[in-house]
């Protein structure tokens, strides 16, 4: 009797398990073949209505296998609407699949949009929880759509050229500013620092992308364009990036320095809690990459001097240019705010003082060698 009872129990359990199978039939998800991945979003001002936006979505089409595909396959969806959300809702009806934003790595914004109501459209990207906050933000010239539509010849089937520019996993150059979405939002909304985004341009034949300029963005102000040289110094100061071409010249000697390490310290000098000057210490370690003359190893100290002087002049030039336009990409204001106890006037005091603050820079370059030849 007892044995029969036991087997009965087993049957019941098995029956429960099997009935559970019927629940497993559908989950809340949609299959991957019913989804299409949006890898880039472009935002342009609308051509038809004032204040509207033109949205370009770059969709990556799946390939069966990497070997059989000849190159990347993209599809572009373009629509104009009053707001981003509306335009994207309409674009959902332009394709048979679900638009999946989880893999969006690139947000490209027309240069002209980066001066007013930035909050207005950036809100959408942050509010949507499926868009990564580690997506890259870039400004585009002449338009976001044209930049997204560039398909360079060197692009391989499963990678996207535009994305590889940023971060250090692909090309790694001090000319390229890389800005995450969260970083852009943080620096743009905070007092005392201005956000910097890379400026992406296309070559004249529309076959190549060029990223070596940056834009300093501030709400309600025309953005300040940093050229390649200024972008390099910005990246050196803020991100400690270092690359090949730091040029140093004295009477008849021309050196190109290859910096390996850069360390930057800066502080705001204060008297009675009022900022009086900015003090910056730069320490660089590197080797000589190119020279127009024969060099001798025992003169390294002398070359140090020449290099320090040259780099110092460049950094001061960069800092004063930015300061004159009343932009603060480095975040001196933040540093000031972090040094005084909070009160309501801290920010306005800083704003008043910043344009005329003297900047002291001391540069210490240490050259380790002259490269493979003397």
């Amino acid at each position: 009797m007892k044995r029969r009872f036991k087997s009965f129990k087993v049957i019941v359990v098995v029956a429960i398990y099997f009935s559970c199978v019927s629940i497993l039939a559908g989950c809340g998800f949609k299959d991957i073949d019913k989804r299409v991945f949006v890898t880039g979003i472009g935002v342009d001002p609308s051509e038809k209505e004032k204040g509207g936006y033109k949205i370009t979505l770059k969709l990556s089409l799946p390939v069966a296998s990497i070997k059989s595909s000849t190159g990347p396959n993209y599809e572009y969806l373009v629509y104009e609407g009053e707001t981003l959300a509306e335009a994207i809702r309409i674009l959902e009806t332009h394709t048979d699949k679900v638009l999946e934003f989880g893999h969006t790595k690139m947000i490209v914004i027309n240069e002209g949009l980066l001066q007013e109501n930035i909050k207005d459209f950036m809100d959408y990207f942050v509010r949507r929880s499926d868009i990564q906050l580690i997506a890259w933000v870039a400004a585009a010239k002449p338009s976001a759509e044209s930049i997204l539509r560039v398909e360079p010849a060197a692009e391989s089937a499963v990678s996207s050229t535009l994305i590889n520019f940023f971060g250090t996993s692909g090309t790694d150059s001090p000319f390229i500013t890389s800005t995450f979405l969260y970083e852009f939002r943080r620096n743009m909304l905070s007092d005392g620092i201005d956000a910097v985004v890379p400026l992406v341009e296309a070559s004249e034949d529309r076959k190549e992308l060029i990223v070596n300029k940056s834009l300093v963005v501030k709400e309600e102000t025309k953005p300040l364009e940093l050229d390649a040289e200024e972008s390099k110094y910005y990246n050196t100061i803020v991100n400690g990036m270092s690359g090949f071409s730091y040029k140093a010249e004295s009477d008849d000697l021309k050196l190109i320095l290859n910096m390996e390490r850069t360390k930057i310290h800066y502080k705001i000098i204060m008297v009675d809690e009022k900022p009086t000057s900015i003090n910056m210490n730069v320490k660089m370690v590197g080797v000589i990459g190119q020279s127009n003359k024969n060099l001798s190893l025992k003169d390294l100290k002398e070359y140090d001097q020449i290099a320090s002087k040259a780099v110092k002049k460049k950094i001061i030039d960069f800092l004063t240019t930015v300061q004159k336009e009343n932009f603060d990409p480095i975040g001196f204001g933040l540093r000031y705010r972090s040094m005084v106890l909070y009160n309501k006037n801290t920010i306005s005091e800083w704003r008043k003082a910043y344009p005329d603050l003297p900047i002291d820079v001391s540069v210490d370059v240490e050259l380790k060698g002259t490269g493979a030849i003397e």
Partner: protein
């Protein structure tokens, strides 16, 4: 101190890095969160010290038994019921917060009922386990997830994009009067020790509670609060930090593992913390269930020598959470947790004073 006691404390501490505590602390970031956190670390550690000392007087006894033995009924039952409400509320808030978080970031297309049901089903089986197995499970989960969480937290700190200037600016808001609500929320991370009301049954030896133990608890509490409060600020700025609905989840999306298996840390992060939160939730509701059982003993509700009451209670727990997750809005959840955390100081006072009363009555 028994290592399990540390588990009880640390589980609650870690699980609150993500849940609703940071939201409340950051909401008050410009109006006195920092002094309240200082106060909470000191007072919380003192509370932990007192509680362990008091329970040391009654090795191997649970709080409901002590209360019923030494105090009159009109006192014992309301106190037990109040404690039950606190633990049930603690579990409920964790559960709802995590369901909302799951819906927002993980599976926006799944219906909220199914998500809650999945949570509730697992939890229901969990809280019906024996108290001893609960502790073993807590150990296993901690061993599995804490190294991972530690690794992730280190990643947050070593990332060069973490801007310490923002953190220092936030620290400059120290010149404020402590805010009561922030104090409650910060004190909540020390609540784990109060699980002793039930688990004291299992500890028959006295706990050693000296300077070393106090220091470990105080310092880890301070470190957890520091991380909870300042890391999101370092990644998201000071001015707009209060705007984020789930500050820590948005922060975890700011980290990437370039060469990791998954680039977006957010998914690993949520899963790891989900594990910890699950156990913390199980412990809370297990205590709640035991307290409820000690109040309402339906001796006649039996089936084959098994008490049916716990099963009924668990079903009620499940139904309440299902209804609330569907009804509550984000804002209501926020104010609910705010009021709940505000009641934590009262909770500690009630627990400690009734323990003192029991101790006096028992003339120990």
């Amino acid at each position: 101190m028994s290592r399990f006691l540390y588990y009880l404390i640390f589980l609650t501490m870690i699980s609150n890095i993500v849940a609703s505590v940071p939201k409340i602390l950051l909401f008050e970031s410009k109006t006195g969160a920092i002094p309240s956190m200082f106060a909470a670390v000191i007072i919380g550690t003192i509370f932990v010290f007192i509680l362990v000392k008091l329970f040391n007087a009654f090795p191997g006894k649970s709080f409901p038994d002590m209360l019923k033995q030494y105090t009159p009924k009109w006192f014992a039952y309301p106190v037990l019921f109040y404690l039950f409400l606190c633990w049930f509320g603690a579990g409920l808030i964790t559960l709802i917060t995590y369901v909302f978080l799951f819906i927002t970031f993980f599976a926006p297309e799944t219906s909220i009922v199914i998500t809650t049901l999945a949570f509730v089903l697992v939890i229901s089986f969990g809280i019906l386990m024996k108290s001893r197995s609960m502790l073993y499970m807590a150990e296993i989960v901690l061993v599995l997830f804490v190294p991972l969480i530690f690794f992730l937290l280190i990643k947050f700190y070593v990332n060069p994009k973490l801007d310490w200037d923002f953190i220092k600016i936030a620290m400059m808001h120290i010149n404020h009067v402590p805010s009561y609500w922030a104090f409650g929320a910060a004190l909540y991370i020390f609540m784990g020790i109060a699980d002793l009301v039930i688990f004291n049954e299992l500890f028959t030896k006295k706990h050693k509670m000296g300077w070393k133990q106090v220091l470990v608890i105080g310092l880890s509490g301070a470190a957890i609060l520091f991380t909870t409060f300042f890391v999101p600020i370092g990644y998201n700025g000071v001015e707009q930090i209060a705007e984020l609905t789930f500050p820590w989840i948005s922060t975890s999306d700011s980290i990437r593992m370039k060469y990791g298996l998954i680039e977006r840390v957010i998914f690993i992060f949520i899963l790891a913390f989900l594990g910890i939160a699950f156990v913390s939730l199980l412990l809370h509701w297990h205590v709640a269930l035991k307290l409820l059982e000690s109040i309402f003993q339906f001796k006649r509700l039996k089936w084959k020598d098994k008490m049916l009451a716990p099963y009924i209670f668990v079903v009620i727990f499940g139904i309440i959470s299902l209804v609330l997750t569907r009804k509550l809005t984000q804002y209501q959840l926020f104010s609910l947790s705010n009021y709940f955390f505000g009641s934590i100081p009262i909770f500690f006072v009630v627990l400690i004073s009734s323990l003192v009363l029991v101790k006096r009555r028992a003339k120990l």
